[in-house]
Amino acid sequence: MSQRELELFFGPQHLGMVGNFSITLNVKGDRIVEARANPGYLHRGFEKLMEYRNWTQNFPMVCRINVVEPDSMEMVYAMAVESLAGIEVPERAHYIRMIVLELARLASHLFGAWAYSNMLGFDTVAQWAMAYRDYVLDLFEELVGGRVYHIYICPGGVRRDLPDGFEEKVMKFLEALGGHVPDFDAALFNNRIFYERAKDIGKIDAKEAVELGATGQVLRAVGIKYDIRKIEPYAAYNNVNFEIPVREDGDAYSRLWVIRDEMLQSASIIMQCIEKMPKGKVYTRTPNPFKWLIPEGETYVRVESSRGELGLYMVSNGGNRPYRVHFRTPSFTNGILVLEKLLENASIADVGNIMISLYVVAPEIDR
């Protein structure tokens, strides 16, 4: 029986919320012939806005590009300004930044675990993941005064030193989360149903992944050990020991396992930071924000965010604000190029599964 090709508008939908991302599918029966990602629902023009705010005013704004993990955004902006202006960051600030970044990675991964298990109908696991994410947000509230947007990693260091007893609270949290890992494994990762639902879904091979510019879990799930923290260590990542977890199969199942293993590595990094962190200053005062001119120059800095390589290209023409800002966000490649590729020949029922397993955050695409 010959089938007609139909155009199907999938979305706008997104991790949990409806409204900021959509895919147009050409389908034959329930098979997808071609998929086109439609970003733009969330375009706020951050890169342009930043050209109209001074170096200091920009730092509370960059975090808004990625709601789920604002800290890598702050980090990459701080690194770019520091590299253009030649600012030295105190040693202790590097460690505090690493603690914050890894806590953010944990929060982000827990959020991802929530999204994926929620999508598959593992509501219990989703609730657990969300609860533990909230405990991380509690820690952030304690440290920076805000739960979601932290506005903490600023050019020159961090905005305040750790509050008294913060390290103990972090350790307590990590112990609690660690104690819960067997339950997570039992309920999700070693669950036969999860295996059946995720295995061979959204499968990509190493060659394609590299060609499409994928980074993060997508790349690590095909067996490529690619992590900016190892390739080009920033902060004090060369002073801590950690592994890059990889899997071979390149499917949703492998990606979720990579996320799980990364959380364990993050916890280990945080513990090492607390142990190795020196005493001292945490902030090098930056010049008066109203008069701060940064010498002409351009820079490209990158960090390993929870979704992959996050880069920032920034140009100064010697003025009090950036001349040009451009973010290279991991969701852009994963969420458009890789997604479109993986949806070919997939079934309509698997669209949500594939999209969420790619761990896409739409605001990162529409910056």
């Binding site: 990889v246 010049p287 924000p289 008069k291």
Partner: protein, 618 residues
Amino acid sequence: MKTKTAKKSFLTPLKAAKYLFMKPITFKFPFQTREASQRYRGFHLNDWEKCTGCGNCADICPNEAITMTEIPEIEAKPGEKNERPRIDYGRCCFCGLCVDICPPGSLRLSRDYIHIDHATDSFVYLPKDEKNDRERFVAKEDYSLFKASLAHRKEDYEGFVSDLDFTLFEPQRVKMPEITLKERKNTFIEEVIGYSKDEAKEEALRCLECKLCEDACPAHLKIHDYIRAIYEDKPDESLRKIFEDNPIPAICGRICMKHCEDVCSLSLRGEALSIRWLKRYASDTIADYKTTLELKPSKPTGKKVAIIGAGPSGLSEAYFLRLKGNEVTVFDSLPKGGGMMLIGPPPYRLPVSSIEKDVNYIASLGVEFKFNTTVGKDILFEDLLESYDAVYIAIGTHVSRSTRVKNSEKCMLALDFLSENKIGKGVKVGKEIIVIGGGNVALDVAREALRLQNIQYPEEETVTKTISLEDWDEMPATEEETDGAKEEGVIFNPAWGPKEVKLDEKGNVSGVLCMKVKSVFDEEGRFHPTFYEEKEMFLKADMIIEAIGQGSDFSFIPENLKLEFTERRKVKIDKNGQTSIPRVFAGGDIVNINLDAVTAIADAKLAAEGIDKVLLKG
């Protein structure tokens, strides 16, 4: 790392069933609540008493959520504005940059964050704190979550507050390089060396441009503009800005009383911006004012103005009027320009070369100076009135007062001492000197005397003492002066008054008999010293200098012209700077009570406008 995949089973998830029997980790809001963290970034708090209305919070806000709003009920103190920040919570992103830039630290964030209202206007809010707003801020026990809003907040509920280690402004000034104390005591070369280009730029970088200083400056110099020009490495531009309001920057850059720095936002929790030293930098960097400024007098008006006194006020008046195209002649009884600046400030603070730089520039504009000419003696005031269209009197206070105690005629007077040392033949000082007085002039005298002793008696022991009626807390001298004098070794005797100057058998001074001061001022705050007659002290001295204040000599003005004075014995002027005598204007120390150079310039600016009006009419 390759993780081993455990055996997959449909049964493993059943392990999670144990959670059915555990207490939930969520709680029942709003019946159960949790406290926001200590550093929470919630709604704003603003201490209106500390807030100066500088507006830095509004300038730094990345979302333009803050507007400075005029509050008519607030009576702004000098150096403050009666404006307070108003926050639009529709725009605020709670980043706290406003807290980190706030110079007085009055703006803070609280741990309150709940506001529910259907009226959008209620989201625009003028933050205060529990000190100024008892209505909105309630005690913990009266607080109810069901009423929580911007109108119902907890008291003592500070969250994210300012921390001096993390402010966006730099509280410490760039240290002014100075010669060492040891060098200082033996020489009259300038104490402060002056900023280098990098130091000046770094210091200028600190300026937040809130412009409170410009309101506080009597002459309203465009301070933020000239500081910015220095930061941008354009000292010529900076000098041009200064010359719009002040034609004697080399002088003012050294001895200005810096009313601006007193109100500088940065001084509230740190050190004020070195506005004076930056002005000095601008004037010192430009070797030749004339080629840089390129100022030319307007087309000639054909009017002639006489100025009596070539001090700061007279010089400024000459400059302003000359630029307006008038013929200006300045008369002064001293041999050079500068007036009190020439004789008063010690050379280690204001060298004659700096005065000459300013005076020569004003002369180069076509102002005629007649030095060594005393009005009333060499030329009559009446003649000036007749042959000039207007006269500006800026004679300053050049008559030293004496204590008039017994034998006080054997003492030297402060101005005689200072001028003889600075532009005269020099003074032979004694080994034990007593300076009577507690003001800046007295300390200048003491510090100069001490240097002269060190120079004239290098190997011998010498001593310089001061006695002043005022005790430490009410001493009129600035802290800078007293600290400097203390460092150099001047011995203070505060709260002692002279009773009699004692003479030896040859008729030379041998010391001062002092008595202890009970009080200096009476209940109404007027100067009326009282003493404990019985508590006496004798201080040995071979030289005594009286420095208890100066007055003016108006005897050159014929009585029939009837020059009027105010209650405080100042020349009375109207809003144009004109005295009770038509076509005669006045300014400087004889008019204002600040008795400083920058106020003298302000007087000159006022009178220049006034004279311009009168000349146009005539």
